[in-house]
Amino acid sequence: MKAKQGQRRVLTGNIVAANAARLCRPEVIAAYPITPQSEVAEQLSAFVADGMLDSEIVEVEGENSAMNVVCAASVAGARVFTATSSYGLVFMYDTLLQTAGFRAPVVMVNVNRETPGIHAVSSGQQDMIATRDSGWAQIIVENNQEIMDQIIMSYRLAEDFDIQLPVMVNYDGYYLSYLAEAVELPEQSDVDAFLEPLKKQPGRPRVIPGESTGCGTHGMEMGYVEARYKHWLALERVKNKVDEIDKAFGEYFGRSYGGQIEEYRTADADIIVLASGSAAGTARTVIDAKREQGIKAGLVKLRLFRPFPEERLIQALKGKKAVGVIDRSVCFGWKYGPMCTELKALAPSIGSIPILSYIDGLANLDITIPHISRVVDEVQAAASGKSFQDVTWIPMEEL
């Protein structure tokens, strides 16, 4: 069975995110506006005010409360949605951990923006990286259509009985949040049909008025260890589940994204560029150009950051001669970028090849075609045995 052709509209990333949430029919929404996410919260309020969405909107005084509200509503059995960015994400840090520990299937959009310390109202993935170990599944998307599709897929993932985990959908602030591009809006009946399998699953536990039940009660000693062990196992299961859901989505809606990672011209490639988010689109253009020059380069777009797609990456990178990783954030206290650091842990399985770390695109500085072209050239040189620089902060050298 196939979905009907959806309506094609030109919409910004934020409006697409709000529409995606609307189509998934969340029963409770609590989102505090923050640049560059504000349109998501505003549009969802407008949908409810216009009678286009039957949701309870809880107006909160900050993000910490927003996450507490959606976590509690989720534990009470509701489907929930929230959205945030940067300062908002770190303001809800304790409740992020709580939501994950409660195994509440919250779906949240995080519009990537630089974090406090240096006040930067600009794009960057540092906010997402700062919450890496919160126990959430973290997915990064590349364009507005993928925002739409991944939010829908995220409900299938979060609420799956075998998973029961909160999911954070990340997209680049400014680059995507305010970018208007053509997007196909699926029909409501098709989104309903895609989410229908969740209704056939066993019900998850929920708070029942008058009954002394509770979640996250003091897990002393082995209770704590057991809860953590189950949480850790569930995150391991997320990897295959992301692939399965992506495949099912592709079969039904005709669009798929490769699941945990998307591989572009990797099969016969000698060298690989690993990138994520909107920069992956630019990287694809560079790969095509380099291929015309006879350089056998390929792109791996990292979609799933948590859990880290260990097996899929080993499969994609095994036998390659060198890899360049572009990070849009900094790993404080460890010299490579965060994604590069993680990739280096796979070295025993992919072989002792040069892995070059690049820091680029901080604070709204563009990850340009010349930047990625330079990455490809340097990775190619490293692959042929030339010496290379471990870490390169591209803007520090190019400006």
Partner: protein
């Protein structure tokens, strides 16, 4: 990996309930003194139960009494009681009660 641990939680998430598994902190063991009520001074106003931080006061119909399984002995009930009906007594006084 062989997991030998017998599951405490019946659910995927760490849920417990009053009828089955109720995981709790044994906070009563932290106590060094306990509130002892002089019932003749008590007028059942309920302030002690209202202020009790772990909310472990039993309602006995005409007075309140701390649930010693949870009472940490913080003494707030004794401090707040307008009639001075509670006396904080060192646990050593009860050492022979077993």
């Amino acid at each position: 990996m062989v997991v030998k641990h017998k599951a405490i939680f019946k659910t995927e998430s760490p849920w417990s309930n009053g009828k089955g598994v109720l995981l709790k902190l044994d906070t009563g063991s932290w106590r060094t003194e306990r509130p002892v009520l002089d019932v003749s001074k008590c007028n059942y106003c309920g302030l002690c139960a209202l202020y009790c931080p772990p909310q472990c006061m039993f309602d006995r119909g005409d007075h309140f009494e701390a649930n010693l399984a949870f009472c940490k002995g913080c003494g707030i009930c004794a401090k707040e009681c307008p009639r001075g009906a509670y006396k904080m007594v060192p646990e050593g006084e009860f050492a022979n009660e077993g």
